[in-house]
Structures are given as structure tokens and as C-alpha cells.
Symmetry: C2
Subunit: 444 residues, 2 copies
């Protein structure tokens, strides 16, 4: 049995690549030792957003329902049933998982639940069989670094399978996952502590967004401590001599590559599979896409890399620039989203730029929603007025950023934003407002 | 005292034009006999969206909170306090109203609360004074046709000032206002009856959206009757011999122009002030923008017309095409939005087109939000693959349509949608999904 492509791992890099591979006539086999959909579908993006939606509703009921005119809610009696919230996310996962299986079948993609081992550049072993193939795509993802020697540690995957929810967790880590999990517990009225493993919480964000988050954490009196300053004595944790109360350490550490078993030696870089611009490893017919190549931890980056691999197999050139325009979404409250260049990147590149920030405080729809905390910020260059970066803080920033993604992909300008008529009342009017203000700044 | 511009009416045509006029150095006076912000701010777009947000939260608490894992909610005890919901909308109105006043002052715009009368093409009388001006902008808006001879009639403006909320209203009218008010009462669990004054409820929408609404009303067992078939006997209403129970007739009839008092005769068309492409009336220095000229009932259409008038006063050419790209938003549940051409328009114009519809049923974020009813539909022409029209049904369609507005303004193609990387998981991914599907249809 000879395949055109064997994909190891079925997360957003693997399953999306498999569908495209099947659609474009490649005889394709997907091998995954665990769940279809990988981390993203089973204990990452999808369940965490489902939990966050539950927590946001909980918070809105407790904090805003009286103001909205809803009666009969006794805020003190409102509680959170984690098992039910998990059941809902399991239902969502099951539905999406069936969807992937359906699309695989429809496009002739085969699936084998087993652990794969690369035997040679054209052979993969799984379930005691050897499968021959022209190409291999490694899409095995990543998992958080282990927290050695610490007690009461729980990973997000274990949380997804746990019947109980920590009351007072230490969120240990950095990056969007750490911030989202922190916000999840905050929204539920619990008092999580943030043990920061890096210098800053969200290093990939523009400094303006970083400051927003810092101010917010301060205002909400969240305890933020550098992780390396925490000293453990058995199950107890201390900063200097002050004990930190906690019941769980939620491991949101930066993730390391999950490497497949392999008799073929692949070149690594910092523990990740090193790839070129076409996502080829040091063995040209073995590709690596998604977290495992260390280029990004974003699900949509993984999917677009996976698609690029299929294009490359078909001999199509990649538009590497397009792959750099990756929106970064954080499903906090309010949500945070960014695309394109940050100020510090442009400074480092020596590119001249201007910025325009427009608040949501006077946005009619945001006020109607009771969610006017936030702003939109444009970074654009003054010569052609092209927009180079967009940052958004808004209750729905993660969907609003799509407009910015399209703008940047089409190399649009602040004039385009000012000219495109945005409906009233919408939160997205802030694009037009900021664009118009930028136009008048340019014309002054 | 001589002005460059006197604006009569301070709704979205008038107040936006006034700000731009002030910013661009025109000595400007706004005259309004009633509230700053006109219908849109005071009893139209803004308060109705505020009420709808309250009703959507009420509905979500009653119908979905248990599924989301929220405990301590007794659905039977949940009620709706209309006075409080109104208080919240009044707070929003007050905030936005202060914002307009601030921007007027900042830009040197004067305001007079009085009834205006046009004395000559260069003179306006108000508050017993005569003001001279180079240009006049009539932005006096519209109001629903009166329902003569009927009892228990309430207009939306009166509802906004009423302490009690109808239990069983007849929604009398057609168009987005009628559908939104119908949905408002439905969301609150009341049983409104729709008395349809036109042949269809939402004639400006593409047939596919119209069918969606029709199916939905049928599924939700809403009583829809042709208004002209209702016979009144005193306070009682009948269809044939069947009595229709109701406590209020909510007047959502199509609106007629509100014409200012004028000694100058302006040419009318169907009761609206007739204007040319530059929004000039039959007297060239008297402009009319917004509902009063009969071109559109949309607030953002009014604002963009108002801005176009200021441009014209400064001798700038209008891009009339851009003004035709008006998103139409309906804040129902789920929301409905449309921009660009409908199928019937393209058929009438003899333009070749293709369509691509993509459901939200397998959209991860929509499922996480518990709001996966809906779809996105692209209409594009096969030669250059340019997108000509977009229709969306989604819980957040009214903000999502902004991406489509930008796409159409930039004359983008289905390839642009397929190439712009949309973040995962987002509802907006459906743009990329539909775009990719359209691309593969084109390449087949």
C-alpha cells in the first residue's frame, strides 16, 4: 500500500492539510495516537473558548443583569457547574470531530489511530504495519514543559478531564493560554495568582496592548509574581516568608515540541524540527507544520502551514509574506487582538510610521452592549498611508480583527477604512472613525 | 450674523455633517426643535439596540444559562424590568448626546434649540431671529405614517417614553424596525402579532435572507397577518370572525419625510425632498440629506450623505459609487446583515454571477458561543471573481458585515477572502471558508 502523503498528528496543521490533500487527489493517510483534532479541538482552543463563554455569561449575569433590567436573579445564589460546562464543551468537540471525520471520508482520506514511527524517508510504521509513502508531514504539535518537583500540578488537558475546578489556582506560565486561564478564574469570581515564567505576560503583543493588560491586572488587584521567586516547601508555596494560598498549580508553561518516534534523524533547533520556507525538514520529503516546527503556537498558523505544504507537494510557490500576516487573538474580557507589525518591530526595522488610537467610550453599539472598554489602534506609514498593523481591545475584538486581516492582505490604506461605509450602530465603526482621523492627520 | 451653513435637524445626517463642517472651517449653526441626535439617538437605533441587548440577555439567561453551567437561576422567576432597561438606554443616550455637544463645541459649531423656518435660500428664522447663511442643509428626517382611526396605537418614540411595556402587541408595519420590535417581544417570551403592511417584511433583502426570516417566523409560530385584512370594531381587532387579542398596536409603518417649515418651495417626489447626486434640492444652495430625501432610511446612509454635502460645499467631487455600498443591518436573533447586490438586482441587470453559501453549523467559535444558527453567502462574478454582494446570518452579523463592506469598497475577490488568514476559532472564519470554497468552484 503506497501513499502520496502520510500525516502524523491530526491537529489544525494535520487535519486541515489532510482535507486539502484529499481534495487535490493525494492518496493520504492520517495517523494519530490520540484524538482527532489534536490539542486545539480536544483540550485547547475550542474547549477553552467554550469554558470562557460560560464564564463570561456567569460574570454578565452576576455583574450586569440587574442593570440590563433582568429581575429574579439573586447574584449570591448564582453558581458555576463545571461538570455541565465541560459537558457542553464535550458536545461541541464531538460535533466538530464528526465534522472532520466526515470531510476526511468525503475526500478519501484514511485514518489510523496508532502511534507512528518514521522508519525511513518513505516508510512509516504504525499498528505493526509498514506504510510506504512519497511524503511525510509531521504535525505532532507541542505540549507544556513539565513542572518537575512541584506538587498539585494540573495541565490544561488534565483540567479538561477533571470533575472539579480549582478554587484558588496558581496560573503558572506566560502567553495567551496563561492570560486566558487567569481570566477564566477571574470571571468566575475566584482569585487566581499569576506566577509569571517570562519577563512579560504577552511578549508578542505591541507594547500598547501589554500596558493595557498590565493596567487591568493592577486595577483588578491580581497577584502577579515572578515564578522563579516562588519557593516551595512540600505542598506550601512562599514568596519570601509570605505564604501563597493555592489548591492547584495550573501549568500554562511555554510549550515544547512533541517529536514523533523516528529512525531518521531530523535537524532540530531549540528542540523543534527545523524547516525551510516551504516547511521542509532537513529531509526534503519530510515536512513539519504547526507547533512542532517552532514557528508559531497559533492554530490558524498551523492550518495555513499545513495548506502550504500541500501546495508545495503540488509544486506551487508559496506566498511567504501572506503567511506572516497572522492575527493573534486572546479571548479575555475584553478580548484582545492584533495583526501585522508592532511599534517595536517597525522601530527595529527603521520604518517611519504614525499611529491612531480611537476609544470605544463613545461607540453607540459598545455602550448598548454594556461593553465600551477598549479601543482600536492603527499603525500606518505616512507615505502611502498603508496600514501596517492593527490592535484591538473590545468585547468582540477576536472577530473584529478579521477586517484588519483582510485590509492588510489587500495592502489597504487608512483611506480605505475611512471610505468603506460601516453600518451604524456597530462596534466596527471604530475602524472608520480611526481611519477618518488618520486621514485628517495626514492631510493637515 | 452670517453663517456658511445652517443645518436643520441634528440626527445622523445633521450632527455628523456639522462636525465635519466645523472641522473644515465652515461657520456652522445647527437648529433642532427637539433632541440632539434626532430619532437615531433618542428613540431609534441606539435605544432600540440597548433594549434588544437587554432582551437577548434575558433570553439567554432563561434558555441557555443551564446548558452553559450556570446554576442558581430559576427560569420561572426571571422577569424583565422595562423601566430599568429604559433607564440604561437613557444613560447611553445622555452619554452620546454629551459626546456630540463636546465635538460641536470643539469644532466651533453653534446649536440652537428651536423650530426653524426657511425664509429664503439664504435666510432661516428660528427663535424669532433671522439668520443669514450661504448654504442650508435640511436633515429633518422622517416619522412613521399615522394610523388614523385606530385605537391603542403607540409609536416607537412613545414606547421609549412609556413606563409600561405591552404584553401582547400587534406590530404594525414592515421593514427592519418592524422585525426588530417583533423580535424584541419574542425574546422576552411575549407573543406579538405581526400585521404586515407590505407584500413582504424585508423587501430590501436578498430573497435568500427573506426566506430565512419566513422559515424562522413559521418555526416560531408567529402570527403574521396582512394588515389590510384586519378589521377593527372599537378596540377589538378581527381577521374574518376570529378576534386577535392585543393590548397595543405598535406603529412601525414605513416613514414619511418630516419637512421643515419653508417659504421657499422645494421640489418634492412622493413627499420627500427631491435631490440630485450631490444632494442639492431644486434650490442649489439648499441641500437635503438623510431620510428626508427618501433615498434611504439607514443612519449610516444619512451620515455619509451629510459628509458628502460638506465635501460638495468645498467643491470636492463625490464618489457616488462608494455611497451605494450601504450595509443593511437587522439586530434580530440571530442578526442579519447584507451589503452590495442582491440576486434579483443582478438578474435585472443581466450580470452573470455565482453564489457560495457556508453554514455556521460546523464553526467552532459559533458552537462555543451556543450560537451556530446562520450562514454567510457570497455573490461574485465568475470572470474576475470579484465579490458583488454578501449576506450574513449570525449572532454578530451586524459587526461581521464590516469586513464585507471593506472587501466591496476595495473591489476584492473571493481569492482575497481565501488568502487573508482568519484567526481560529472565530465566527469570521466563515469568510475564509466560503472564499476557499468559491475558489475551488472557480478552479474546477
Amino acid at each position: 500500500m503506497k501513499y502520496d502523503l502520510i500525516i502524523i498528528g491530526s491537529g489544525p496543521a494535520g487535519y486541515v492539510a489532510a482535507i486539502r490533500a484529499g481534495q487535490t487527489g493525494l492518496k493520504t493517510l492520517v495517523i494519530d495516537k490520540r484524538y482527532i483534532g489534536g490539542m486545539c479541538l480536544n483540550w485547547g482552543c475550542i474547549p477553552s473558548k467554550t469554558w470562557l463563554e460560560s464564564a463570561k455569561l456567569y460574570n454578565k449575569i452576576v455583574k450586569q443583569s440587574a442593570d440590563f433590567g433582568i429581575t429574579g436573579v439573586d447574584a449570591k445564589k448564582i453558581g458555576f457547574d463545571w461538570k455541565q460546562a465541560r459537558k457542553r464543551s464535550s458536545d461541541v468537540i464531538a460535533k466538530l470531530s464528526r465534522g472532520i471525520e466526515f470531510l476526511w471520508k468525503k475526500n478519501g482520506v484514511e485514518f489510523l489511530k496508532a502511534e507512528a514511527k518514521i522508519i525511513s524517508p518513505t516508510e512509516v510504521e504504525a499498528d505493526k504495519q509498514i506504510f510506504e509513502t512519497k511524503h511525510i508531514l509531521i504535525a505532532t504539535g507541542s505540549r507544556p514543559a513539565e513542572l518537575d518537583g512541584m506538587k498539585k500540578v494540573l495541565g490544561v488537558e488534565a483540567l479538561a478531564n477533571s470533575d472539579s475546578l480549582p478554587e484558588k489556582p496558581i496560573i503558572w506560565g506566560e502567553g495567551p493560554v496563561a492570560y486566558e486561564m487567569l481570566q477564566f478564574f477571574q470571571l468566575l469570581g475566584r482569585e487566581p495568582v499569576l506566577a509569571l515564567t517570562g519577563e512579560v505576560l504577552l511578549p508578542e503583543l505591541d507594547e500598547s496592548l501589554q500596558s493595557f493588560v498590565q493596567r487591568k491586572l493592577k486595577k483588578e488587584k491580581v497577584t502577579v509574581v515572578p515564578a522563579q521567586k516562588i519557593r516551595f516547601d512540600g505542598e506550601k508555596a512562599f514568596i519570601d516568608k509570605q505564604e501563597i494560598e493555592y489548591d492547584t498549580i495550573l501549568n500554562c508553561s511555554l510549550r515544547k515540541a512533541v517529536l514523533p518516534k523516528s529512525k531518521v534523524e531530523l535537524q532540530l533547533k531549540d528542540g523543534f524540527i527545523e524547516v525551510n520556507h516551504s516547511f521542509q525538514s532537513s529531509i526534503p520529503n519530510i515536512y513539519a507544520a504547526g507547533d512542532v516546527n517552532g514557528k508559531s503556537y497559533l492554530a490558524h498558523a498551523a492550518s495555513s502551514q499545513g495548506l502550504a505544504v500541500i501546495d508545495h507537494i503540488h509544486g506551487r510557490n508559496l506566498d511567504v509574506d501572506a503567511l506572516e500576516l497572522m492575527p493573534i487573538n486572546i479571548y479575555s474580557d475584553p478580548e484582545i487582538a492584533q495583526i501585522g507589525k508592532t511599534e517595536s518591530q517597525l522601530k527595529a526595522e527603521g520604518v517611519e510610521y504614525m499611529t491612531q488610537q480611537y476609544s470605544l467610550a463613545a461607540n453607540g453599539k459598545a455602550l448598548a452592549e454594556g461593553a465600551s472598554e477598549g479601543y482600536l489602534r492603527l499603525i500606518y506609514e505616512p507615505k502611502y498611508s498603508q496600514v501596517l498593523g492593527v490592535q484591538i481591545v473590545a468585547s468582540n475584538a477576536t472577530d473584529m480583527i478579521a477586517e484588519a486581516a483582510l485590509l492588510l492582505e489587500m495592502e489597504g490604506t487608512v483611506y480605505d477604512l475611512a471610505t468603506a461605509i460601516h453600518a451604524h450602530p456597530t462596534v466596527s465603526e471604530v475602524f472608520m472613525d480611526a481611519g477618518s482621523q488618520a486621514v485628517s492627520d495626514l492631510e493637515e
